[in-house]
């Protein structure tokens, strides 16, 4: 499998007079998880939209480098904060949705659906509707749908923000285990420092609007050693970097 790099060159974006992102340049290296954190309204989600081709930046460009893994149907794939499941489709139907408009035989489609549902522990829920599932299970469907297309780059938009703390903990573990098996290049947007430090190779800190890169912090602790105690100094440093901005952002009109 050949992971892919994602290169962001001098990207700026605005909505009319409102500047949201200002001159962002960064490279997401092959097979790394880059976390992007910043206060609310700093343009994190806008940046992620640009990275996946859902938004056109006002300035700058985004490049990919490398070839997608074999059988990849959708090289750049999102996992959404609100899960973005079709409520009228079953779990299997939601995964199928990502595969329906591809050159893929019915049998292979079924095989892929079955494979990812088994991998995520959703096989017994294949015919359940989203409303019958807990938030954690719904996001597992979102993850299964993303894995089914065998992405080269995963873009995660605050994937655990809508979940309660315990579920979030469980899903971090599961996501990490899945990621270690595939090592897919990933961009993980979050406002949760602990999530960023548990998962990422590097953490990119964005400033308040208009979002600029304030800092790029490498998480130099092996993934198996990331206990709260080991991460404490880094957490302290990141919090110091963002707390003034977070306080100011909190007191802004939105």
């Amino acid at each position: 499998m050949a992971p892919v790099r994602l290169i962001v060159e001098r990207v700026s974006h605005g909505y009319g007079a409102l500047e949201v992102l200002d001159d962002i340049s960064l490279t997401v290296e092959e097979g790394e998880i880059l976390a992007i954190i910043g206060p609310s309204g700093c343009g994190k989600s806008t940046l992620l939209g640009i990275l996946g081709g859902l938004l056109k930046p006002s300035k700058g460009r985004v490049l990919t480098d490398g070839s997608a893994p074999e059988g990849s149907l959708n090289p750049i794939t999102y996992i959404f904060q609100d899960f973005a499941l079709l409520p009228w489709r079953s779990v299997a139907g939601n995964v199928a949705f990502a595969l329906e408009h591809r050159r893929l035989g019915a049998r292979e489609r079924e095989a892929r659906i079955d494979e990812v549902l088994a991998k995520i522990g959703l096989r017994d829920f294949a015919s359940a509707l989203p409303r019958q599932l807990s938030g954690g299970m719904r996001q597992r469907v979102g993850i299964a749908r993303a894995l089914a297309v065998r992405p080269a780059i995963l873009l995660l938009d605050e994937p655990l923000s809508a979940l309660d703390a315990q579920t979030r903990e469980i899903l971090i573990e599961e996501f990490l285990a899945l990621w270690l098996a595939h090592r897919t290049t990933a961009v993980y947007v979050t406002h949760n420092l602990d999530e960023a430090l548990r998962l990422a190779d590097r953490v990119c800190v964005l400033s308040r609007r208009p979002g600029r890169i304030r800092e790029m912090v490498a998480v130099d602790v092996g993934r198996q050693d990331r206990t709260p105690a080991r991460l404490a100094p880094l957490r302290e440093r990141l919090w110091r970097s963002i707390q003034d901005e977070a306080r100011a952002a909190d007191r802004e009109y939105v």
């Binding site: 859902l54 973005a84 949705f97």
Partner: protein
């Protein structure tokens, strides 16, 4: 000193009480029948429920009922089919295309409040007194609420579902067919409910202006002949028709919107 906590919750919740529902209905009919039987009111002004039931039975046996009902249903079905198909297509365009919305929405908003029965004389001039003018009135009456319900249904589809579909490179026609239409279905079905009752109003009004057969024509004739029992039998028929339509829409909602 301890004392039991005072309960202050409860109330403000209604529960189904089927016995009360039945009793209320029976009571209304019983009082009505008693007033009529006592002879306090002339049967020409207020016939008894039993008399109305008899009139209905006679209509059914003589075949009159079916003839009038068939004429009305045919107009409703045809007008509703034409108007709702056009309204659906137009509403979809209003919801999806900026130019269609900019051009069409002010026009729809301006024409929507016109009571469509006011246009029947114009349609009679255009299409003659026969079926086409009645069907056109119903179709037009159905068109506007369907267009508006579809348009707002499309507007209510969560943007994130559309973005999700785009992020998986789902082609535009499939986004419309598999995301936007099913997502707009709750709005569309409530449009169906509203426009079905509008169709019922319009068919009666149109039949009163000029028709040989149809429930509206039957009621008007009965009134002209002071046959109040027949008149109210026709009204009962309309009530049953309205209830049946509502029941069908509810059935469709239960089947098609089970995912909610």
């Amino acid at each position: 000193m301890s004392e039991p906590l005072r309960f202050r919750g409860g109330g403000f919740v209604t529960r189904p009480k089927p016995i009360s529902s039945c009793l209320a209905g029976l009571a209304v009919v019983a009082i009505w029948q008693a007033v009529a039987s006592a002879g306090w009111v002339s049967p020409v002004f207020l016939p008894s429920p039993a008399g109305i039931a008899r009139a209905l039975a006679e209509m059914a046996l003589s075949g009159q009922l079916w003839r009038h009902l068939a004429a009305s249903l045919q107009r409703i079905l045809l007008g509703f089919a034409l108007g709702s198909a056009a309204g659906l297509a137009f509403g979809l365009a209003l919801g999806l295309l900026s130019h269609a919305r900019a051009a069409g929405l002010p026009i729809v908003s301006a024409l929507f409040p016109i009571p469509k029965i006011a246009l029947l004389p114009l349609f009679i001039l255009w299409f003659g007194i026969g079926e086409p003018s009645k069907v056109a009135t119903i179709a037009l009456g159905v068109f506007f609420p369907m267009a508006i319900a579809t348009y707002s249904g499309v507007d209510q589809v969560p943007r994130t579902l559309i973005r999700m579909a785009q992020s998986f490179d789902v082609p535009t026609h499939a986004v419309v067919a598999k995301v936007i239409l099913p997502g707009a279905l709750p709005g569309i079905l409530s449009g169906v409910r509203i426009s079905a009752s509008i169709a019922l109003i319009l068919v009666v009004a149109a039949e009163m202006i000029g028709a040989e057969f149809g429930v509206g024509a039957f009621i008007l004739t009965a009134g002209n002949l002071m046959r109040t029992e027949d008149l109210l039998a026709g009204v009962c028929l309309l009530s049953i028709l309205g209830l049946a339509v509502g029941f069908l829409v509810s059935l469709a909602e239960r089947r098609l919107l089970a995912w909610r």
